[in-house]
Amino acid sequence: MTESADPRSALHLRMTDFRLRRPDGRPMFDEISADLNSGELMIVQGPNGVGKSTLLRAILGLWRQSSGRIELTLSFDDEDVSYLPQQGQLQFFLPLTLGEVVELGEGESRHTQEILKPDMWDVQWDSASGGERQKALLTRLFRSSSRLFLLDEPFNHLDHESTQALWSEILASLGRGASVLLVAHGEEHRIPVSLRENFPVKVIRLRGRNLNDTSLQIVEASRE
């Protein structure tokens, strides 16, 4: 895909009739068709277990049970795509500090809002709180100059100040032509006005599938 002169028009991600399936073959949700271009924010919403995180992993090529198409025009090898996973296992064998977690990140050290403050860098990963870990992971993520950020529930465990810092990072990334796809619970109501006014926001709502009901859930992709 050739980028046009206007960085906002560059396609970063296209989903065409894309549907995820569970390991037993049952569909998770109905087909999704949506584009994410540079300078756009896309929010994927839905109840627990509907497949939001799995959608992100499918975009990364880590979930194979699916149909339809995903086109990712950016390359992992060029460090164009960054991914924030949900927090998983709490303990790690090696003695990492939060600062060392930040420094494990790839790419150049771009100036960031420092969601994780410098005085927290010596806190050990194993004994840090969920919020402290999340701040370290977000700081690590936004130090890169990626053009597509895939964020899985980035607001989990964050206090108000850190939430604001995260929105500032997202705003700054959109401003330099990156796109952001984030999985969240109702975050579209808290999008800063400055972001809404200057950048397109798309919302994909995945509705939960009643396992006793053979009818499939409704997917809406709406531009706000």
Binding site: F76, Q87, Q89, F92, L94, P95, V101, Q124
Partner: protein, 303 residues
């Protein structure tokens, strides 16, 4: 009266000179294995490594048995040859692939399956030794090593291999730590091609180094080098800073000190490889203590 000539025991310095290349190989290989073992422990692959190492031992034994059968049953099983190492590498690779599939199944209590595999491989090892001509002497060497038997050429080749792997591990240390962290914390495999290549290189290097170490230094030495020092030092550190170098130094130092101790203790009756293994944790304590002393001295001087 016929003079009786009494053979005197060689001095320690003479023995060190005789086995110099074996000791050099042991020290270098132990250090490289310790760096690999640190990453494997971080990925919770210790049981998998036990099985891979035993599989490498089976590969080595099988090749030695085949060589002995082809060249005649009185052929010494330790004549210089790379075939046993290559066979050990292939067996380790196959078991590595099988164990990776086992991990991906996410069956509960995976370690139980690994223990079962280990028992099978150990039993096969014993059977191959029993039915192969000329391998009886290798029964103990398979587990406890036999530094006296490897030739200078073999020891030199093993040293070069260990050095190459060790240098590679140090060079890629940060990247490998990031990969291990993402794998264990988020079940996130490496996504970038160069990360995948570095990870693959580490796995292949670990298989071949384990095969070489198992052939010449035995299973006990291999496992001790992989894990003894890392499990001690990671508990005493609060950050990664300096950890890799201390692990490297403590393991190599333990191997060297252990060799010297086995030669000089009493009448030299201590078994060499087990003594080297026991000296590794002692060396870890020493290195950690020295490190604290130095950092304490620096802090004092700064004030």
């Amino acid at each position: 009266m016929t003079p009786v000539f009494k053979l005197s025991r060689p001095r320690v310095s003479e023995l060190i000179w005789i086995y110099k290349w074996s000791v050099v190989a042991a020290v270098i290989v132990s250090a490289a294995l310790a760096l690999i073992g640190t990453q494997l422990a971080a990925r919770q692959q210790a049981m998998q490594t036990l099985v891979v190492s035993q599989s490498a031992s089976l590969g080595v034994i099988s090749a030695l048995g085949l060589l002995a059968a082809l060249h005649g049953e009185h052929t010494h099983p330790h004549e210089p040859s790379l075939w046993p190492t290559m066979s050990g590498f292939l067996f380790a690779l196959v078991m590595g692939l099988i164990s990776q599939r086992l991990i991906r199944t996410k069956w509960p209590s995976r370690n139980t399956y690994f223990i079962a595999l280990f028992c099978m491989l150990m039993s096969l090892n014993a059977c191959v030794i029993a039915i192969s001509p000329g391998l009886e002497a290798h029964t103990s060497a398979a587990y406890f090593g036999d530094l006296a038997v490897s030739s200078e050429t073999e020891a030199q080749l093993l040293s070069v291999l260990g050095l190459a792997v060790g240098v590679g591990m140090i060079w890629a240390w940060k990247r490998l730590t990031a990969i291990s962290f993402n794998l264990m914390s988020f079940e996130l495999p490496p996504l970038r091609r160069r990360d995948q290549q570095v990870d693959l290189a580490m796995n292949l290097a670990s298989f071949i180094l384990i095969a070489g170490a198992v052939q010449f230094l035995g299973l006990l030495f291999t496992l001790a080098s992989l894990f003894l020092v890392p499990v001690i030092l990671v508990r005493w550190h609060r950050s990664l800073r300096g950890l890799a170098w201390r692990i490297l130094l403590a393991t190599a130092g333990g191997a060297g000190l252990g060799f010297l101790t086995s030669l000089s203790w009493g009448d030299g009756s201590l078994p060499t490889v087990p003594t080297m293994a026991l000296m590794m944790p002692a060396s870890a304590v020493l290195v950690y203590g020295l490190g604290r002393l130095v950092s304490g001295t620096r802090t004092g001087a700064a004030r």
